[in-house]
Amino acid sequence: MAAAKESTSRVLATVLILALVCATLVAGAAVGLRERQEANRLLDQRKNILIAAGLYREGADVEALFDNIETRLVRLADGSLLPPEALDPTAYDQLKAAARPRTSRELSREEDLAGLGRLEKYAPVYLVRQNGELQTVVLPIRGRGLWSLMHGYVALTADFNTIAGVTFYRHGETPGLGGEIENPDWQQGWQGKQVYDRRQQAALRVVKGQAPPGEEGKHRIDGISGATLTLEGVSELLEFWFGPHGFKPFLQRLQREGVTEMTISGEQVDELPLVGQGSGT
């Protein structure tokens, strides 16, 4: 018996059976629980949009609060807004769109500050109104850190230049070091900083150590010790998303025109970003 147990064929058979059983269990759990996990992720995204906009309070009903936020799709190339009837913005999956050739474009090396590879043609934005007045606009941002793609939201006040809030909700940076970009105390320091300088260039970035106080530091965000490379990624993604390939055309038009004037009619949408969440191909 003992000798048979160690025979090559026996060893192979044992390992194969074990691998099959374990693979089935793991695959079963991943597939069976996917729907719940997706729902959690979506809820978490919405919660983070609310946090960036400064609307979230501990224990609040995320879905109810989110109902007050208007989700729209922006054509990044010229900053125009899609009419809501052209495509349900809540069903639009930005990351899937970025991965597909039809709904994205390749970024050249000079353009690709944030390390994205491909950029989607349309991006969602979240408009928060109070008494009909546009009060805050929340923009999705993402970019490469040290180890991972960092996903977050940044909210601007109605001057479309001052930061109202920021969150990073998904990343794979080292916990305790780069992972501190999740720290609410650090994120608090973003509030009131200005994105664009006098020449309308995106000037906001993270510095080493403390940002200088007052006027001098209005485009500077405090660093985190031990997170230099992660924060370089944060600076670069800010430069990208507030630059000409990101949301700059949208924000400049928002300053000059209103949401209604920026909305193009359905026929003007050259190519509909037909990638809903969960749609197969």
Binding site: K5, R10, T14, V15, L18, C22, L33, R41, D44
Partner: protein, 208 residues
């Protein structure tokens, strides 16, 4: 094995042969997740669950597992269990799974789990393997909870998120000790616990 010796095995694993304080295993997660009691508790439950189930399964299969590939087989079983725990956390306790981030996945490499599988479950019947694993899991948990109690209380003035010592920064009187929130503080506390255990069980002291 008699009831008596099972009890000795169980409590021995918690105190006398505590995996963290005596064997100094599983230190990585003990530093990482003990800044708050809630995460430490979840980590303790996950690890105890994984080590108990893994040891029982490995003990049940111990006559089938070929000696030449035993480590690989043990790792496969442990990894499967850890992935299952991680998936369940992501589906039902999303916030917690985010706080624990990679540390749930790192249970796979936690030396306590491997140590019990290789050192005990491979040579003992399932009943005893389970008792031994539970003892070790609870021993790990005891240290984690003690460390996180000190760290959260003195670092953030709260326990399980409830304020116990009102912080000066929020209008109270307690000046928080920031060091306690950083991982190195766990070293000091664990060192203190090791010293305490060696006072109680002098047999653990190294011979001069």
């Amino acid at each position: 094995m008699s009831e008596e010796s099972k009890r000795a095995l169980f409590f021995g694993s918690i105190f006398e042969r505590n995996p963290i304080a005596v064997l100094v295993l599983g230190i990585c997660s003990a530093l990482a997740v003990t800044a708050s009691m809630a995460t430490a508790l979840v980590m303790s439950i996950c690890l105890t669950l994984v080590v108990a189930v893994a040891s029982t399964i490995i003990s049940l299969l111990r006559h089938q597992i070929p000696n030449t590939v035993r480590i690989g087989v043990q790792i496969t079983i442990i990894a499967t269990l850890v992935i299952l725990v991680d998936q369940v956390l992501q589906a039902f306790y999303f916030e917690l799974s985010r706080q624990l981030s990679i540390f749930v996945g790192l249970i796979i490499t936690n030396c306590i789990v491997m140590g019990r599988a290789e050192g005990f479950a491979m040579n003992n019947p399932p009943g005893e393997a389970l008792v031994d694993a539970l003892g070790n899991g609870l021993g790990y948990s005891a240290i984690l909870m003690t460390v996180s109690f000190c760290r959260e209380l003195f670092g953030a003035g709260s326990l399980f998120g409830y304020t116990v010592l009102p912080l000066a920064s929020r209008g109270g009187w307690y000046e928080a000790n920031g060091l306690m929130l950083l991982p190195p503080s766990a070293f000091f506390i664990i060192a203190g616990l090791i010293w305490l255990l060696r006072e109680i069980y002098p047999g653990q002291r190294e011979k001069e």
